[in-house]
């Protein structure tokens, strides 16, 4: 399913290159490419790498993903070093500690319950990574890496593995997959139920992937469309209105960046909780 969506989006890319649509410049902003755009000042051409016919070149999104990962590593490393000398948080440790405690006490503990400690590192990593990359994308000239379906699909795939491994580890492989189906069912209903439950395993991470991707890309497209109104109507009198609306959407995006990180983490942890504690 992921493959189809990725293919579809690259089809949109080809459409853009063919000049088939007038809104192509919007797609250009949210598509992966081999150039880092800092227009109107300059743009950097990234090298094209290929190994065994597989394109592994460092593209715009990968470049910014590495920046986000590096930034996250530096911030969290500094904070963790500070706790070695004193346990009293100061400066940047304060905000990180509040966020970590929020994720632990408000997200992970109530949804997973007993044995949540094993999943806490993964869920914290996901939360901080998504939060920082959502926020990073709001800086001018930066790229929202979560606005790329490949990135969110990878995050959802890791969540899928975490959910299944959590379930299998606590119930055993047979016990886990048997536990997906409610006991005491008449045999004929299993014909409908088993494919449905197997499908259900995959739709959960698929929804995670699409939700994050669509939410992040939608805000950018709306902002660009509002600014595009100036050029479509070709009058400067629209500019105050569309800039005011664009700023409003931008501020809304700040909220969405937080909420989407929260939702991705809480849903992943909810699904892990459902897999680990199948009895309810």
């Amino acid at each position: 399913m992921y493959h189809t969506v990725i293919e579809t989006l690259s089809a949109a890319d080809t459409l853009k290159q063919a000049g088939g649509s007038d809104s192509g410049w919007i797609l250009h902003h949210v598509m992966d490419s081999h150039t880092l755009d800092f227009e109107p000042f300059f743009s950097i051409q990234l090298p094209h790498l290929e190994i065994f016919g597989i394109d592994i070149s460092i593209t715009k999104y990968i470049f910014f993903m590495w920046i986000v990962a590096l930034l996250l590593f530096i911030i969290l490393y500094i904070v963790s070093r500070k706790y070695k000398s004193t346990l009293i948080p100061k400066g940047i440790s304060n905000i990180v500690e509040i966020t970590v405690l929020f994720v632990r006490d408000e997200i992970v503990k109530p949804t997973i319950g007993k044995g949540y400690e094993k999943f806490l590192p993964y869920l914290l990593t996901v939360f901080f990574f998504i939060l920082l990359s959502n926020m990073f994308g709001l800086i001018p000239y930066a790229v929202t890496i979560t606005g790329n379906i490949a990135v969110t699909a990878a995050l959802a795939a890791i969540s899928f593995i975490a959910i299944q491994l959590g379930g299998i580890k606590s119930h055993g492989a047979w016990g886990y997959f048997k536990g997906l189906i409610p006991s005491g069912m008449p045999p004929w209903i299993l014909i409908i139920l088993i494919p449905l439950e197997i499908l259900g395993l995959f739709t959960k991470p698929f929804a995670l992937c699409i939700r994050l991707f669509a939410n992040m890309i939608a805000g950018h497209v709306v902002i660009l469309s509002l600014l595009g109104l100036i050029f479509i109507l070709q009058t400067a009198f629209v500019a105050p209105v569309s800039i005011a609306f664009a700023i409003f959407i931008y501020l809304l995006e700040l909220l969405v960046a937080l909420i989407q990180a929260y939702i991705f983490t809480i849903l992943t942890s909810l699904f892990i909780g459902m897999a680990v504690h199948q009895e309810h």
């Binding site: 579809t8 408000e106 929804a207 699409i210 939700r211 669509a214 929260y262 939702i263 849903l267």
Partner: protein, 73 residues
């Protein structure tokens, strides 16, 4: 080709109507519940956000189909 675009547009509109109704009703009920039980506001808010995210997920499934239709045309 134009009809597929029309279909995608109408489909996206209908999907958004459904999601909007669902989230609106959910938020209305949740706020009412918070008004009745202010001490449980935190738990109600969490449940509301999860349910809203699930409704949104269904709407996105519909929107993905619309995008597929629009891009194919």
């Amino acid at each position: 080709m134009d009809l597929a675009w029309l279909g995608a547009g109408i489909g996206a509109g209908i999907a958004v109507i459904g999601a909007g109704l669902g989230i609106g009703k959910l938020a209305g009920s949740a706020l009412e519940a918070m008004g009745r039980q202010p001490e449980d506001a935190g738990a109600i808010r969490t449940a509301m956000i999860i349910a809203a995210a699930l409704i949104e997920g269904i709407a996105f499934f519909a929107l993905v189909i619309c995008i597929l239709l629009a891009v194919k045309a």
